[in-house]
C-alpha cells in the first residue's frame, strides 16, 4: 500500500470516504511515523496512542454508517497550548507540571465534533513565547529540513516558533494537519521555516476559550497543513462563534475550501514599500518579486502602497504583549494547579514557585510587562504603545478603504537558522526581529496566510505572506493557492531521520 502519511488532509478524507483505507490504518501509519521520527525531531511531547486508536475505530463506524463528519477519521496533532480534557496540557512549561484539564478547548471540541482523530500534543515555545521553539521546557524541536549539502554533520535547524512542534510534525508527515496559535507570528514564521501552510485568521474568528492565554488581544488559533486547500478545510472546522469567549466574532463561517480555486483575477494587491527593510537578503527580495509576477500573471493588479507605521509595530508589540502576559500569567501561583515550591510565607511560595516554574524568556517577558504597567511608567510605555497600535491599524484601514484587496509581503527575513544560534541567544531583540513582517497583522487584528514560495540557496523553504481585510480569509486562500500552484515546489523533506 502507498504510504498513507504522504497523503494530504483532503486526500486522506476522500480516501476514507471512498473506503480505500480505514481511519485505523491511517492512524496507525501516523503513530508508526511518530515512533520512527519523534526521537530525532521532538515534535510531540505526548503521544496518545490509545485515544487515537479508539477515536479512529469510532470514525470507521461512522464512515461505515454513512455519518462521516467533514474531517472524519483524519489524524491531527494538537499544540500543547490547547486544553484537552484529561490529556497533557502544559503550554510546554514546567509550571503546569501534571496539569490535566477538566475541560476541552472550543477549537479542539469543534475538530472532534467534525470527526478528527487526536494523535497527541505538540511541542512549542513555553507559553508560546519564542521564535525558535528553544524556550520549551521539553527541549528544542528539530526542523525536518536541512541544507542540501548537509550530510548530517551540520547543526540541526530550528522549526521556528512558537508553533514549532506543529510545523515540524506537519512537514515531517507525523500528522495530516495541526492546530497552532499566533500572537506575533507563531503560526506563519514556523510555517515559513518548515515549508508548510499556515493562516492566522482574523481576531475573533476562532474561539480562545480553553487556549492557554499569552496576550489576549493578539492571540488567535489557526491551522498548519501541507497544502492551501487542507488549510481552508481545517479552518472551516476550527472556526465559529463561541459565547464563552467574549471577543469571539458572531459572524457566519464560510466553506473556506470553496474559495481556494477562485483565483486572483481583478484583485488589487498592495506591495508595501516599508517592508523593504535595510539589509534584507537578496533571496527574500527575489522571492517577493517572483510572487508579484505570479499574481500579476494570473490577472491581479499590483499597486505600491504605504503603511507608514510598520517599523513601530515590533517595539509596540514588545510592550503590549508582555504587559498582557504579565497579567495572564499571574494565575500560575502554585495554588490552583501545576508546580508548587514550598515557602515559609505565601509570598515566598509564590516567588519560589514562579522562579522555578517559568523559563528565562517567560520570566523576562513577565518582568518587562510588570515594569511597563507599574505606577509611573504606564503612560510612557503601555498607553503610548496602544496609541501607536491605533495608528498601525489605521494604516491598514486606509489602504483597504482605497480598494486594496490583499497585501503581499515576505513572511520572514530569512530561512531557518541553527539551534543554539549564538547571536540570537546573546541578544533577545535579534530573536524578536524574526517577527518583523508578521507582527503588524496581530497588532491590527487582521488575517494573514504564509505559503511556501521558494527555496534559498541551501535548499531551505522560504515563504510569502498575504494579508487580508478583516474576515476575508477567502481571498487569502485564493491568493495563497495561486502562489502554491505557481511555485510548484516539492515540499516533502528527505526523511533522513528514518535511517
Amino acid at each position: 500500500m502507498t504510504d498513507l502519511t504522504r497523503l494530504s488532509l483532503k486526500e486522506t478524507r476522500n480516501g476514507l470516504r471512498a473506503r480505500q483505507f480505514s481511519s485505523l490504518e491511517v492512524t496507525s501509519a501516523y503513530l508508526e511515523a511518530i515512533k520512527t521520527g519523534n526521537e530525532t525531531l521532538n515534535a510531540y511531547i505526548c503521544v496518545e496512542e490509545e485515544i487515537a486508536r479508539n477515536q479512529a475505530k469510532k470514525s470507521d463506524e461512522r464512515l461505515a454508517a454513512g455519518e462521516a463528519g467533514p474531517l472524519e477519521g483524519v489524524p491531527l496533532g494538537i499544540k500543547d497550548l490547547f486544553a484537552t480534557r484529561g490529556v497533557h496540557t502544559q503550554a510546554a512549561s514546567h509550571i503546569l507540571d501534571g496539569f490535566l484539564p477538566e475541560y476541552e478547548s472550543t477549537v479542539t471540541a469543534n475538530l472532534w465534533n467534525d470527526g478528527a482523530v487526536m494523535l497527541g500534543k505538540l511541542n512549542m515555545d513555553e507559553f508560546a513565547m519564542g521564535s525558535s521553539n528553544e524556550t520549551s521546557y521539553f527541549g528544542p524541536v528539530v526542523n525536518p529540513w536541512r541544507p542540501a549539502d548537509d550530510d548530517g554533520s551540520g547543526p540541526a535547524l530550528v522549526p521556528g516558533g512558537s508553533s514549532g512542534g506543529s510545523a515540524s510534525a506537519v512537514s515531517a508527515m507525523l500528522c495530516a494537519g495541526a492546530t497552532a496559535t499566533d500572537t506575533g507570528g507563531s503560526i506563519r514564521q514556523p510555517a515559513a521555516f518548515c515549508g508548510v501552510v499556515g493562516i492566522k485568521p482574523t481576531y475573533g474568528r476562532c474561539s480562545r476559550w480553553g487556549i492557554v492565554a499569552f496576550a489576549s488581544s493578539l492571540d488567535q488559533a489557526g491551522p498548519l497543513t501541507r497544502t492551501v486547500e487542507d488549510n481552508a478545510m481545517m479552518l472551516t472546522s476550527m472556526a465559529g462563534f463561541d459565547s464563552r469567549d467574549s471577543t469571539s466574532a458572531d459572524v457566519p463561517v464560510p466553506d473556506f475550501a470553496a474559495a481556494v480555486e477562485r483565483g486572483v483575477k481583478g484583485l488589487s494587491i498592495g506591495i508595501p514599500r516599508e517592508y523593504r527593510m535595510d539589509g534584507m537578503p537578496g533571496e527574500i527580495e527575489t522571492l517577493w518579486k517572483q510572487g508579484i509576477e505570479w499574481l500579476r500573471d494570473e490577472g491581479a493588479r499590483i499597486r505600491d502602497i504605504s503603511l507608514p507605521h510598520t517599523r513601530y509595530a515590533l517595539p509596540a508589540y514588545y510592550i503590549v504583549a508582555p504587559a498582557e502576559a504579565s497579567s495572564n500569567l499571574a494565575r500560575y501561583d502554585g495554588v490552583k494547579y501545576g508546580l508548587r515550591v514550598a515557602g515559609k510565607s505565601i509570598d515566598e511560595m509564590y516567588e519560589l514557585t514562579r522562579a522555578a516554574g517559568f523559563g528565562r524568556e517567560v520570566q523576562r517577558r513577565v518582568m518587562i510587562g510588570t515594569y511597563v504597567l507599574s505606577a509611573g511608567y504606564y503612560d510612557a510605555y503601555y498607553k503610548r504603545a496602544q496609541k501607536v497600535r491605533t495608528l498601525i491599524k489605521r494604516d491598514f484601514e486606509q489602504v483597504f478603504a482605497d480598494g486594496v484587496d490583499a497585501i503581499l509581503t515576505p513572511a520572514t527575513p530569512s530561512a531557518a537558522f541553527a539551534i543554539g544560534d549564538a547571536e540570537m541567544a546573546a541578544d533577545p531583540v535579534k530573536m524578536y526581529l524574526n517577527d518583523i513582517f508578521t507582527v503588524t497583522v496581530n497588532m491590527a487584528g487582521l488575517p494573514a496566510i504564509a505559503v511556501p514560495a521558494g527555496k534559498d540557496r541551501q535548499g531551505l523553504p522560504l515563504a510569502l505572506q498575504l494579508i487580508g481585510r478583516p474576515f476575508d480569509e477567502e481571498t487569502l486562500f485564493a491568493g495563497g493557492r495561486v502562489i502554491e500552484r505557481s511555485a510548484g515546489l516539492d515540499l516533502a523533506p528527505g526523511k533522513w531521520w528514518q535511517k
Binding site: G98, F358, S374, K383, K393
Partner: protein
C-alpha cells in the same frame, strides 16, 4: 529610561518572581536591551490619538448575571497541588 539593580529587585517582587542576587546584573542588561529597543516609539507623534482598547470594532457582549456552569468544586480543585474538602490549601496568611 533605563533600569538598575534596585528596579530589577522591585519588579521581581511585584511580579512575584524570586531573582537570585547574582542574576540581577543579567536582568539589568537584558531588560535594558529590550527597553532600548522600544524607546523608538518616542519618535511617533501620538498627539490626539486614542489608545486602542479593542482590536475589532465590537462592544463586549453581556449575559444575565446567573450561574450557568457551577457545582464543580471537586473538579476545580482536582489539579491543585494541595487541597482539602474542595478548598485550595496555602501557607498560613493570618497570624
Amino acid at each position: 529610561m533605563a533600569v538598575d539593580g534596585k528596579t530589577v529587585r522591585r519588579i521581581g517582587s511585584l511580579a512575584r518572581i524570586r531573582i537570585d542576587e547574582d542574576d540581577v546584573d543579567n536582568y539589568v542588561n537584558e531588560l535594558n536591551v529590550i527597553l532600548g529597543f522600544v524607546e523608538q516609539l518616542n519618535e511617533v507623534d501620538v498627539e490626539g490619538v486614542e489608545p486602542m482598547t479593542s482590536v475589532t470594532p465590537m462592544a463586549l457582549r453581556r449575559r444575565p448575571d446567573k450561574v450557568d456552569a457551577g457545582g464543580h468544586a471537586d473538579r476545580i480543585v482536582s489539579n491543585a497541588p494541595l487541597s482539602e474538602d474542595d478548598f485550595f490549601m496555602v501557607p498560613k496568611v493570618v497570624e
